[in-house]
């Protein structure tokens, strides 16, 4: 389903985040990507979400070269994936409900149907009853769950999560890992980057270890 073909990402200044990286990820797989800081984990996800373009090579999804998508097509591609960023990017002046509603508003869902889906997504991540809470009123783990609810509310086939358990204590981290596992069991292809090799080794059947932009 996902194929990285000889992908190199070189930043201005000379740093090479990925170096001729090749990898195939099948539909419905759950893959944990680990490695030291600067190994290229986040770059991998950013290339897949087309937040960046590769310097060389191609990123194919279902046979389509997403790294060559035109600018006008990018929003529609991003609507089809779920993205959990390392820095969460929640809107702190909006309620939990409104944060999760945002992707549905963007894709033009009718308000009533969207509201039902938002409640279902919040329930799925264990935030039922917190619809009106502002993000600042939520714990770190709950904020991460809210970010995940926002990522899954559009029912994506691919879920990308960049260090979703960073800054969380062990119990919260396990909860979050459980969540990703349950999405994967529902048929979603999950790609998670992590520092915590041990945590995801229990959940992800497949692990990729990156070092200096290459698979180890």
């Amino acid at each position: 389903m996902i194929r990285f073909e000889h992908v190199t990402k070189r930043y201005p200044g000379g740093h090479t985040a990925l170096d001729a990286f090749d990898c195939d990820i099948g539909r419905g797989e759950m893959v944990a990507v680990s490695g030291h800081s600067g190994a290229g984990k986040s770059t991998l996800l950013r290339l897949l979400a087309v937040l960046e373009r590769p310097t060389e090579g191609r990123v194919l999804v279902g046979g389509e070269n997403v790294s060559a998508l035109k600018r006008a097509a990018l929003p529609y591609w991003r609507r089809s994936i779920g993205l959990v960023m390392q820095d969460q990017r929640l809107l702190f002046d909006r309620s939990a409900f409104d944060n999760v509603m945002l992707p549905l508003a963007i894709s033009g869902h009718p308000p009533r149907e969207a509201a039902t889906r938002v409640r279902a997504a919040l329930e799925r991540v264990g935030l039922s009853g917190r619809e009106k809470s502002m993000p600042i009123e939520l714990s770190g783990g709950e904020q991460q769950r809210l970010t995940i609810a926002r990522a899954i509310v559009n029912r994506p086939q691919i879920l990308l999560a960049d260090e979703p358990t960073a800054h969380l204590d062990d119990a919260y981290a396990r909860d979050i890992a459980d969540l990703f596992r349950s999405f994967n069991e529902a048929g979603v292809t999950v790609l998670v980057t992590t520092h915590d090799d041990a945590l995801f080794s229990r959940y992800a059947p497949r692990r990729l270890v990156l070092s200096q932009g290459k698979l180890q």
């Binding site: 979400a49 937040l51 006008a72 929003p75 529609y76 591609w77 991003r78 609507r79 089809s80 993205l83 960023m85 990017r89 929640l90 809107l91 945002l102 992707p103 508003a105 963007i106 894709s107 033009g108 926002r150």
Partner: protein, 299 residues
């Protein structure tokens, strides 16, 4: 249908955004309103002045007043001579009796006139001349003045012409003022939207990550500008209405001094519609320019 639905949702988002900051919204609308109120009030006043000028003939007229003791024969003879001199012009004869009656009826002077031993008014003629140049008018005035028992000859069109020219000048000045203030309105909206873009930077970035198109991001800002313009236009209309109310009595009193019945008319429904549409359009233009310029800078 989908386009309309998207526009409606964007309009609602913009309205909610305005409601979230009522003080800022009111202040911005006030700035727009005051800027638009000046040309709106000026337009309303000029319209009234034009209506007043329309009641007064701007075509040249010569008023000829006979001596009060002129005999009926002399007046008839003068009538014939004026007609011969004026060559086909329309001539209106106003008898001294008619003038006396008019003053009795209209000007509350009945008691004073009754106290006089005789009718103090003289017979008069009004010569209506279309398309006569200044030299011809002056020569006719001089010739008529030489006729026997003619007391006074007056060229009446000059002030009406001046009024016409002043109105035309006022219209030009108003157009220039409206243009300048319209530009100001665009600039105010441009800046308001720039600040909105800055304060909503996070939301824009997150929306892009989640798949928002540029059109989706732009739409509520366009609506914001248009709604702000609309609100400002409504305030401008209200200010013009207040000005009409405040000026109505003094204007009526002034008109009364010139024996005129004149009521200051406020903006019509069509004027209101044009004002609101123009302000909304200018707001939309300012917002559109601002979004186009600043959105590309937000990654």
């Amino acid at each position: 249908m989908r386009w309309l639905r998207l526009q409606m949702r964007a309009g609602l988002r913009a309205a909610r955004q305005m409601a979230r900051q009522p003080f800022n919204t009111l202040l911005a609308a006030l700035v727009v309103g005051i800027a638009a109120a000046l040309p709106a009030t000026g337009y309303m006043l000029l319209g009234n002045l034009q209506r007043l000028a329309g009641n007064v003939s701007a075509a040249p007229e010569i008023s000829v007043f006979m001596q009060p003791q002129a005999s009926a024969d002399t007046v008839r003879d003068t009538d014939k001579r004026i007609r011969a001199l004026a060559g086909g012009a329309r001539i209106e004869r106003i008898t001294r009796e008619a003038t006396l009656k008019r003053f009795r009826d209209n000007d509350g002077l009945a008691e004073i006139l009754d106290a006089l031993p005789d009718n103090p008014f003289a017979d008069a003629f009004v010569v209506h001349l279309d398309n006569a140049d200044a030299a011809r008018l002056e020569s006719l005035r001089a010739e008529v003045a030489k006729l026997p028992d003619v007391e006074h000859v007056q060229l009446d069109s000059a002030w009406a012409k001046r009024l016409d020219v002043l109105i035309a000048l006022g219209q030009q000045a108003l157009t220039m003022l409206a243009g300048a203030l319209g530009l100001g309105l665009v600039a105010v909206t441009f800046n308001t939207i720039r600040l909105q873009l800055l304060t909503q930077r996070d939301e824009i970035e997150v929306s892009r990550l989640l798949g928002a198109t540029d059109a989706w991001i732009r739409r509520p800002f366009h609506w914001f500008g248009a709604l702000q313009g609309l609100l400002g236009g409504a305030l401008a209309g209200l200010l013009a209405l207040l000005a009409t109310r405040a000026l109505a009595t003094p204007v009526a009193e002034l008109a009364g001094l010139y024996s005129l019945e004149f009521v200051l008319r406020p903006l019509t429904a069509i004027d209101w519609l044009v004002l609101l549409a123009l302000c909304a359009l200018l707001g939309w233009l300012g917002a559109s320019a601002s979004v186009r310029r600043h959105l590309s800078r937000i990654a």
